[in-house]
Amino acid sequence: MDFHHSEDRQMLADTLGRYLQQRYPIETRHRIAASDAGWSREQWAALAELGVVGALFDEAAGGFGGGGFDIAAVFEPLGRALVVEPFLGTLMAGRVLARAGGHDALLGEVIAGGTLVAFAHEEPQSRYDLADVETRATGSGDGWTLAGRKAVVAQIEAADRILVSARIAGAPGDEAGIGLFLVDRPAHGLAIRGYPLIDGGRGGELVLDATPATLVSDDAYPLIEDAVAAGIVALVWEAVGVMDVLKAATLDYLRTRRQFGVPIGKFQALQHRMATVALEIEQARSAAINAADALGGDRHVRERAVSAAKYTIGRAGTLAAEEAIQMHGGIGMTWELPLSHHAKRLTMIGHQLGDEDHHLGRYIALGRAA
């Protein structure tokens, strides 16, 4: 088997990596992440120009990628550089619009980088359960209005339009009866409370009250599940990028930091711990490969693979983040060291789109259903 990216994908990953190295160094990243906006429109435009957004979508949607390994090739370098711009939301919202059909013009604007669409699905009570939608959609004349709340939507303040899930029929927890809608900004009854995120950038809470909306799909659960699967592939590859940086920084520290007259990497206790971290990172990379490979295939196989990968990344990510700090000692605790920001991002990836326990439980449930 050949585990290398295709030539085109490798070229994209290399180009993106070089761009980020030169134009998105850690000082720039800190400045953007802590800014009022929490992202950079200039960076977004430049990255879209490079084709980074287009790589997330297939040709039918106006892009030139869209496969699991295309997403991997983009998100791994994004992870290395701790990019805060709204790639995850763009991937998930764009994927829904492409599958739903009839949104070619909007998708074209998204891929060109001119329009941002956020994906607002999770709710304050839903805790990763994709079918737990309480937000209500009500038909009114030939349109719809929405009422409800959406929780911790990454970079929602940046969005020009918001893709919102809402219940047309049934009860929270039912997979049937969920719709997806586009909401404009500004709109009647729409309020956003934005805030900084602990790992940089911003998120926000969305409140809708009799807010007019355009129907995208009235049977949206399969679209949501597919979009979240793609989002998980993105997050696990972002995590792989983050973990590779943590590993390299820690190895470097073990080689150079001296204590009792020798590099601390000479101490067997640290050697064994480093070996365990390295092993877990490779297992996590394999899980991410499995998930990327399964993204375009059978629903059941796909969902098992993404849950397995998110579980693995959650577990390995916590270990890698904690051990990287520990092996650095006090300096690993400081803001000044880029490593501490990679550790925070890696930990918070564990809180997005389902944590370790959620996906372990889901993996078991999917196994029973087989």
């Binding site: 929780a151 927890g173 805030y195 602990i198 520990q326 550790a343 918070m348 326990d357």
Partner: protein
């Protein structure tokens, strides 16, 4: 360096916790280069207002200013500020460290943190039920609770021994390792309990007197920052790796 009725102090101390608020600072300083490295260290009490002292902040990964570097340039300290005898500082420090390490088990704060975690887990919902009823999460809480119950007794055993003189160094080391692991696990579970709401970080919400609308549950604001901040527990007071070496050194007698 002794200069008449003063010591002249030059050098740098680091990780000085809350040093920005201190009026006085206890310092271990080298007063002799003779004999073993542990000899020749003295224990001084220094007025922070003495000319030549500079405190520089170290910002931690949670964005907080909690620790500092303290620089000493030709700082003159009156000889009467020497604690105990000259060149005996390491003996006093070791004695203090033993007690730092028994206190560092933090059984009391772990008990309070566990209660807080249980209340959060009973309030958070997963699949329409309290998170505390989720078998995976309940098992995580139970494991740390059992560990803490065991640690309470281990701690009392060391304290009981301490009433007959300072406990052996390796017992303090055991308290330090497992005590900090328990505290870290509880902060980790509290972070996990929040689900997506671990991500928002409204730092003003941590200020005294803040009465703004919370983001998510009202207990969420400090949780993730606490988790990251508490990574320090296994590093300071002698890292847990150093503590493990103390234990095996004492047990193996090689």
């Amino acid at each position: 360096m002794r200069d008449g009725d003063h010591y002249v102090v030059n050098g740098q101390k680091t990780w000085t916790t809350l040093g920005q608020y201190a009026d006085m600072i206890f310092c271990l300083v080298r007063t002799s280069n003779e004999g073993k490295k542990q000899e020749g260290i003295s224990f001084l009490l220094i007025d922070m207002k003495t000319p030549g002292i500079e405190v520089r902040p170290i910002i931690l990964l949670d964005g907080e200013h909690e620790v500092n570097e303290v620089f000493f340039t030709d700082v003159r300290v009156p000889v009467e500020n020497l604690v105990g005898e000259e060149n005996r500082g390491w003996t006093y420090a070791k004695y203090l460290l033993t007690y730092e390490r028994s206190n560092i088990a933090g059984v009391g704060s772990s008990m309070a943190a566990l209660d807080h975690l249980k209340r959060i887990a009973a309030t958070q919902r997963k699949g329409g039920r309290p998170l505390s009823e989720d078998p995976l999460f309940a098992a995580r809480i139970a494991r740390v609770e059992i560990d803490l119950e065991n640690m309470k007794t281990t701690n009392l055993r060391v304290l009981a021994a301490a009433t007959h003189g300072a406990p052996p160094l390796e017992q303090g080391a055991m308290l330090k390792i497992r005590g900090t692991e328990i505290r870290q696990e509880i902060t980790s579970l509290t972070r996990r309990a929040l689900g997506p709401y671990a991500q928002p970080f409204v730092s003003e919400a941590l200020d005294e007197g803040y009465n703004g609308e919370p983001v998510g549950p009202d207990y969420a604001a400090p949780v993730a920052a606490d988790y990251f901040n508490n990574r320090k527990l296994s590093i300071f007071g002698g890292s847990n790796e150093v503590q493990r070496e103390i234990i095996t050194k004492a047990l193996l007698e090689l």
